[in-house]
């Protein structure tokens, strides 16, 4: 069933990223997503970046036309919400490495919140093109996580990809879980690096979606549907899926290389 709610808060997180908060009292877990409907425009799967309490939130990066239009939503505007849908991060781990690339931090932050609430140790490797685009760095720090940064241009932290930081952290710490979200090529590298240390990885995957009910097949990924089998997958289930990190499907269902 669908709810129509009014946006209660809009936060410009980075130059390209906006958070919309809205009243939505459904029970939700970190990793899950909602279908966010902008009336008259489109409905998109959005991972919840705030999962606790009655005020939920999503954090949107300006990419396609539609995400730009979602960003143009103002406080007080009505939006449709259905969900939450999908799988969640298993927050039982005690020493967690989080690896977020770009807007991937949106779904990882509430997972880190819950882990910290359960007194787990959280280390975050956070990557962005440039320092102003680092998403939720302050939020991670405020919850007591250790944050290590990589930027493409070297404007903060290490110059280069966040996978380098993640590999170094994996070598230095005794993590019992890695949670990652970001470009699939990045996640594949994180999975490979964690495999060397035998640390289990959970990754949040993004695909084009229509029904979000496990029916229409728009989000097919190998034998899985991202809407119902994901979006959070144990990496062990994904590594042998040939399309993971290599192909996605466009709205017509055509396989398109990343």
């Amino acid at each position: 069933m669908r709810s129509v709610v009014r946006v209660s808060q809009r936060v410009q997180e980075t130059p390209s990223t906006v958070t919309l908060r809205f009243p939505f009292d459904a029970k939700a877990a970190p990793g899950q997503f909602v279908m966010l409907w902008i009336p008259g425009d489109d409905e998109l799967p959005m991972s919840l970046s705030y999962t606790e309490g009655d005020s939920k939130g999503v954090t949107v990066k300006a990419m396609g036309d539609t995400s730009r239009r979602i960003q143009s939503v103002r406080v007080g505007d009505p939006v449709g919400i259905r969900g939450p849908y999908g799988t969640r991060f298993d927050v039982a781990a005690r020493n967690i490495l989080i690896v977020g690339g770009g807007s991937g931090a949106a779904v990882l932050a509430p997972a880190a919140d819950r882990a910290r609430a359960g007194r787990a140790s959280v280390t975050v490797a956070l990557g962005a093109t440039t320092r102003h685009e680092l998403l939720f760095a302050d939020r991670f720090r405020a919850m007591g996580a250790r944050v290590e940064v990589a930027t493409d241009d070297g404007s903060e932290g290490e110059r280069g990809f966040v996978t380098g930081v993640a590999s170094r952290l994996l070598g230095a710490g005794a993590f019992d879980a890695v949670w990652t979200c970001g470009p699939e090529v990045m996640m594949r590298k994180v999975i490979d690096a964690a495999a060397v240390r035998r640390v289990p990885v959970a990754c949040a995957v993004e695909r084009h979606m229509k029904c979000a009910l496990g029916m229409c097949d728009a989000c097919a990924l190998g034998p899985f549907h991202v809407c119902t089998d994901g979006p959070v997958f144990d990496a062990g289930r994904l590594v042998d899926v040939p399309d993971f990190g290599r192909y996605h499907r466009d709205p017509s269902g055509r396989r398109v290389p990343f």
């Binding site: 489109d42 409905e43 229509k210 029904c211 229409c216 017509s252 269902g253």
Partner: protein
Amino acid sequence: MADLTVRLAGLTLRNPFVLASGIWGESGESLAGAWHAGAGAVVTKSIGSLARSGFPNPTVETYGRWGMLNAMGLPNPGIEEYPREIEVARRAGAPVIGSVFGGDAEEFARLAARIGSTGVVAIELNLSCPHAEGFGTEVGSEPRDVEAIVRAVVREVRIPVIAKITPNTSDPEALAAAAERGGAAAVSAINTVRGLAIDVRLRRPVLAHGLGGLSGPAIKPVGLACVWQAFGKVGIPLIGIGGIASAEDALEYVMAGARAVEVGTAVAVEGIGVFGRLARDLSGLLDELGIARLEDAVGIAHGAPAPPVGGASSDALLTRSP
């Protein structure tokens, strides 16, 4: 254990539960998954000449267990791209029925010839999508159009042709009869029932396209009535579609005259495991009713005297065959 084998239009299916078109049909891996989950056969997404993205979201509105309204808008990667998916499903062993949609008889024939060369075991013609301009119901509402399209397709292919008809007309069984005249090997009925949902707070239709098609348990009586009436009108086999979520639903369709059934919306409610469960449950139900072979039950609700309640019935009640 009752025998669930179904012979239909020259095909032999291990059970009557066929994955309906549009469900798990975009990727070959998903079609294979439905087969591994226990489906008797799988129908592809409806494929057209060119890639189509379909309508913008929202494309579905849900009604809990009762069903859902959708207007996907026939998204598909196009006939040149799609055979790769069929190949994946075939390699997994699935009997694949290729679904196509076109704007006229010529386009249907061209698509059917192409998909017919990919190793599919049959072709289902989508003459009934209720919400795509220029396709589906718009070309499948008049018996003479249905007959012409089926005839054009049958000329082009050597595999069975199944006409999937719409309930959104005053006389669906006339469409079934037209398909038979055109040379169809079977008729599947029904596609979704045209419907609409409005969000009163937003004062607008929920679906981006406005009108959509209703599926799920809410439409079972509609589908049953179509099959029931078509059974009396045509000699070719019928495939029942619409709201099948239990073995009893399926057997209702069979007793109304269907030899097989297609399952779609139940996949969204229960997951793909629905196929294995339906087959197990149907076998148990037939045992309970004293029906040895599913095929013995085809059409027996037509003119049969009331069977004894709750027990094995005499063979005499179960002998009518279509």
